[in-house]
C-alpha cells in the first residue's frame, strides 16, 4: 500500500534541471495568451517548494524520463543533463513519459498544475482575480426557478411501503 508520503531530501541539481525542462515542455509560455510557462522562475520555485507528498513520485517520474531518453542519462552521471539532449530526442522522450498511464506521471502533472494555475500572471491571463475565496466570497445568480413548475405537477415518484404494494 502506498501512503503517498515521503521524507526524502530535496531534488538534486540534475533532477532540478530535468524537471525545469520538463515543466516548460508540459506548460510552455504563450505570447498570444500572455502567460509564462511552468519553467518560469517564480512558478518553478513554487513547484519545487510545494512538491510535498509528491516529491518521491516526481523523482520517480524523472528517473523514468532518463531511462526513456537513453542509457547515458540513466547512469546517474551528474554531468549528464537532460536539457542538453538534442531537442527532437528530448521531446520524444518527454512525450513518451507523459503519455504513460502511470500514477507517478499523474503526480508530476498535479505538482506542476497546482502551482501554475495559482500564479498571478496566469490567473490574470484567464481573467481571474488572484485572491483567496474567503472572506470576500463569490457571486452566484439564482437561476431560473420557473423551470421547476413542470416538475411540481408530477405524480408521486416514491414507493409508499405502507400501502401493501410489495410486489
Amino acid at each position: 500500500m502506498s501512503t503517498g508520503l515521503t521524507s526524502d531530501p530535496a531534488l538534486s541539481a540534475a533532477e532540478l534541471r530535468d524537471l525545469r525542462c520538463l515543466a516548460g515542455f508540459m506548460v510552455p509560455a504563450d505570447v498570444g495568451y500572455g502567460v509564462p510557462g511552468a519553467d518560469d522562475d517564480i512558478i518553478f520555485a513554487d513547484i519545487i517548494r510545494s512538491l510535498g507528498r509528491d516529491a518521491q513520485a516526481v523523482r520517480d517520474a524523472l528517473q523514468m524520463l532518463r531511462e526513456i531518453a537513453g542509457e547515458g542519462l540513466a547512469s546517474g552521471d551528474p554531468n549528464s543533463a537532460f536539457d542538453r539532449l538534442d531537442t527532437g530526442k528530448a521531446e520524444t522522450a518527454m512525450l513518451t513519459l507523459l503519455s504513460r498511464d502511470d500514477s507517478v506521471v499523474k503526480a508530476l502533472g498535479r505538482a506542476v498544475l497546482q502551482c501554475y494555475y495559482r500564479d498571478d500572471r496566469v490567473l490574470h491571463g484567464l481573467g481571474i482575480e488572484p485572491v483567496a475565496p474567503f472572506p470576500r466570497g463569490r457571486v452566484l445568480e439564482q437561476g431560473d426557478w420557473s423551470l421547476l413548475d413542470v416538475v411540481r405537477g408530477r405524480p408521486q415518484l416514491w414507493r409508499d411501503d405502507r400501502e401493501g404494494d410489495v410486489t
Binding site: M1, S2, T3, G4, L5, F25, M26, V27, P28, D30, Y33, V35, S50, G52, R53, L95, L98, K106, G109, R110, L113, Q114, C115, Y116, Y117, R118, V122, L126, I128, P130, V131, A132, P133, F134, P135, R136, G137, R138, V139, L140, E141, Q142, G143, D144, W145, L147, L148, V150, V151, R152, R154, P155, Q156, L157, W158, R159, D161, R162, D165, V166
Partner: protein, 544 residues
C-alpha cells in the same frame, strides 16, 4: 483525571464515566448532544483534533492545492498524525474519511438527502438483501429534528419524497443548474433542488453561504453544517466532555461479558484505561469494525460482538461514476456550493431494467482553475505542450458534471479485516478493505452513465466522458456491523445495542442493512438521534 491503578496492569486508570462515546464525527456528536439532557457523565474520545476555521484552505492562495495534501479525502495521502492508514489495495473503491472533531462532516459536500421509504424494505419490495428492522416512518421525527439542528437548505414539494419541510431556502440554481434543469425538462425527467446542509441564510449562529465553492475541504465561512459547529457546541454546553488526540486501541470486557471500558493512548502517547458503564461506538464503517476486531479476547476470540461473524462484512461504499461534459458558454465553475440538484427519475426499481434498485443523479458545478486542470489532465482531456492553453480555455468554468450515486447491495465478501502487517502510529493493526463490484452494480452504473450522457448532450455539452471509479470515492462507509432482529444475522439490534454485549452500542454507518442510493450523513444522524432516544427511554432496563 485520576491516576488510579488498573488492577490488570500498571497503566493509569481514569475516573469511570456513565457513557463513553468513541468518535466525535457525524453520529458521535449527535448521540452526545442528545444524551446530554440525562445529566449522565458523558465522555467522548476522539483521535483527531479540533479544526479551526482559519485552517481551512479557502483562507489562502493555495486553497485548491491543499485538497491534494492536508485536506485530501484519502487518509493515506493526507497522512496527518491523527490519521490511521487503510490498506485499500484490493478495493476498486478507495477509502475516504476524516479524523477530527466533526469527522467526515469536515470534508463532506453537504449533499443531504434522506433515505427513501423503499430503502428500508428492499427484501419485501424487491426480493434482494434484507429489510431493515425499522422503517422510514420510525425515523421521520428524527429526520425532522436533525434538519432543525443542522439547518437544511431545500424546497418542500419534491414528488420523489414523502412531504418534508427543509428549514432554509434552497441554494441557487445558478447558470449551471439552469442548464441542467432545461435539459431535464426537455427529457421529461424528474429533478429537484437538493437538500443541502448549508446555511443559505444566517442560522443558529452560523453565517450564510457566500459561495466560496470550497464545501468539501471545510467551510471557512462556517455555513456548512459540520457537526463541530452544530451538535458539538450544544453537547459541550450541556456538560459533555470531549478529549481530542485520544486514540482507542481496544474495548475491554469484564467477567460478565459486558464492556468494561477502553484502552486508549492519550495525547502524550501514554496508554491509559478509561472505565465506563456504557460504550457507544461512532467510528464509521471502517473504524468501528476495526476496533471490534482489535478487541478480540479470550471471551470474544473472533472480535467483540462478533458471534454472527458479520463484523466487518457487507461493506457498502456507493460506487459513484462521474460523467463530464463541457458547454461553450461559461457556467458557475467553483463559484457556489458544489452540488445543485438531484434527480430521482431512476431511483426506484423498474422491472424493465436489467438491475434491481436504483440511483440518484447528483448534479454538480465545476472546479476552480487548479481543479479543472488536474481533473482534466488525469482524464486525458487536457494535453501537454503547445495546445495546452487553447484546450484549457475550452474547459475552465464550462464543465457540467453528473454523479451517479449507486446503491451497492450487501455482499459478505466485501469486508473490513485487520491487516497482518500495516499498523498506525501507535502500533494498532490497521484495517484492510476487500471490495468488488457486483454485476447488478455494474449494470446500474452503466445505466446511470448512459442517462447522464443523454442529459449532458441535451444540455448542449460536448467532450462527454466518464470516470467510473478513478476520480471519485465518496467515503460512504456502511454496513459492517449491521442492524437486525436475529443475532445470527446481525451485530446490533433494532435500536443499536450489540446482541452480544448489552452495554455496547453502535450508532455510525456500520449498522446500515442496505445502502440506498443517497449520501448517508442525514440518515446516519437521524439514526443516532433515534438510538439515543431509545437509550433515554429504556434507561431503567437498558442492559436487560
Amino acid at each position: 483525571m485520576s491516576s488510579l491503578a488498573d488492577p490488570n496492569s500498571d497503566r493509569p486508570t481514569d475516573d469511570i464515566v456513565d457513557v463513553l462515546i468513541i468518535g466525535a464525527g457525524a453520529s458521535g456528536a449527535v448521540v452526545a448532544a442528545s444524551l446530554a439532557e440525562t445529566r449522565m457523565k458523558i465522555l467522548c474520545l476522539e483521535q483527531g483534533d479540533w479544526i479551526k476555521s482559519t485552517e481551512f484552505p479557502a483562507h489562502g492562495r493555495d486553497w485548491e492545492a491543499r485538497r491534494y495534501a492536508d485536506f485530501d479525502i484519502s487518509p493515506n495521502r493526507r497522512g496527518r498524525d491523527t490519521d490511521y492508514p487503510v490498506n485499500d489495495d484490493n478495493s476498486i473503491m478507495k477509502i475516504a474519511n476524516f479524523n477530527g472533531v466533526g469527522g467526515g462532516t469536515i470534508l463532506f459536500t453537504a449533499h443531504y438527502p434522506r433515505m427513501h421509504p423503499s430503502d428500508f424494505r428492499v427484501r419485501t419490495l424487491d426480493r434482494v438483501a434484507d429489510d431493515w428492522p425499522i422503517d422510514y416512518w420510525t425515523l421521520e421525527p428524527y429526520f425532522a429534528e436533525n434538519d432543525r439542528v443542522t439547518g437544511v437548505a431545500g424546497l418542500a414539494g419534491d414528488p420523489a419524497y414523502p412531504p418534508h419541510e427543509p428549514t432554509l431556502p434552497p441554494v441557487p440554481l445558478g447558470k449551471t443548474g439552469t442548464r441542467y434543469a432545461q435539459a431535464m425538462n426537455q427529457l421529461g425527467w424528474h429533478w429537484w433542488p437538493s437538500d443541502i446542509s448549508i446555511a443559505t441564510t444566517d442560522y443558529n449562529g452560523r453565517a450564510r453561504c457566500i459561495n466560496l465553492g470550497q464545501c468539501t475541504p471545510g467551510c471557512a465561512q462556517g455555513a456548512k453544517a459540520s457537526v463541530d459547529i452544530t451538535y458539538w457546541p450544544q453537547a459541550l454546553r450541556a456538560g459533555v466532555e470531549l478529549r481530542t488526540r485520544c486514540r482507542v486501541r481496544e474495548i475491554t470486557t469484564n467477567e460478565h461479558g459486558m464492556a468494561a471500558g477502553v484502552v486508549y493512548y492519550d495525547p502524550h502517547g501514554v496508554e491509559r484505561f478509561q472505565p465506563a458503564e456504557m460504550v457507544i461506538l461512532a467510528g464509521n464503517g471502517i473504524g468501528t469494525p476495526r476496533l471490534l476486531l482489535n478487541s478480540a479476547s479470550a471471551r470474544f476470540p473472533d472480535g467483540l460482538a462478533n458471534s454472527s461473524g458479520l463484523v466487518g462484512r457487507n461493506l457498502m461504499l456507493h460506487p459513484w461514476p462521474q460523467v463530464f461534459g463541457y458547454v461553450e458558454d461559461e457556467v458557475d465553475g467553483d463559484r457556489g456550493p458544489q452540488t445543485v440538484m438531484w434527480s430521482k427519475e431512476f431511483y426506484e426499481t423498474d422491472p424493465s431494467r436489467d438491475f434491481v434498485r436504483g440511483y440518484t443523479l447528483q448534479f454538480a458545478r465545476g472546479g476552480g482553475p487548479v481543479g479543472e486542470a488536474v481533473t482534466s489532465m488525469i482524464a486525458g482531456r487536457l494535453p501537454w505542450g503547445k495546445d495546452h492553453h487553447r484546450i484549457y480555455r475550452t474547459l475552465l468554468y464550462r464543465r457540467l458534471v453528473i454523479g451517479v450515486a449507486c446503491e451497492d447491495l450487501p455482499e459478505e465478501h466485501n469486508r473490513v479485516t485487520l491487516d497482518p502487517v500495516l499498523k498506525d502510529s501507535h502500533g494498532i493493526p490497521a484495517p484492510r478493505v476487500d471490495y468488488t463490484l457486483s454485476e447488478n452494480t455494474r449494470r446500474m452504473m452503466e445505466h446511470g452513465i448512459a442517462r447522464s450522457s443523454e442529459i449532458l448532450e441535451t444540455a448542449g455539452a460536448k467532450n462527454i466522458s466518464c470516470s467510473r471509479t478513478l476520480l471519485n470515492y465518496p467515503g460512504h462507509l456502511l454496513g459492517t456491523a449491521r442492524m437486525g432482529l436475529d443475532p445470527r444475522r446481525s451485530v446490533v439490534n433494532e435500536w443499536g445495542r450489540c446482541h452480544d454485549v448489552k452495554n455496547l452500542f453502535i450508532v455510525d454507518g456500520s449498522i446500515w442493512v442496505t445502502s440506498g442510493g443517497v449520501n448517508p450523513t442525514c440518515t446516519i444522524q437521524a439514526l443516532a438521534l433515534y438510538i439515543a432516544d431509545n437509550i433515554k427511554r429504556r434507561l431503567a432496563t437498558l442492559f436487560d
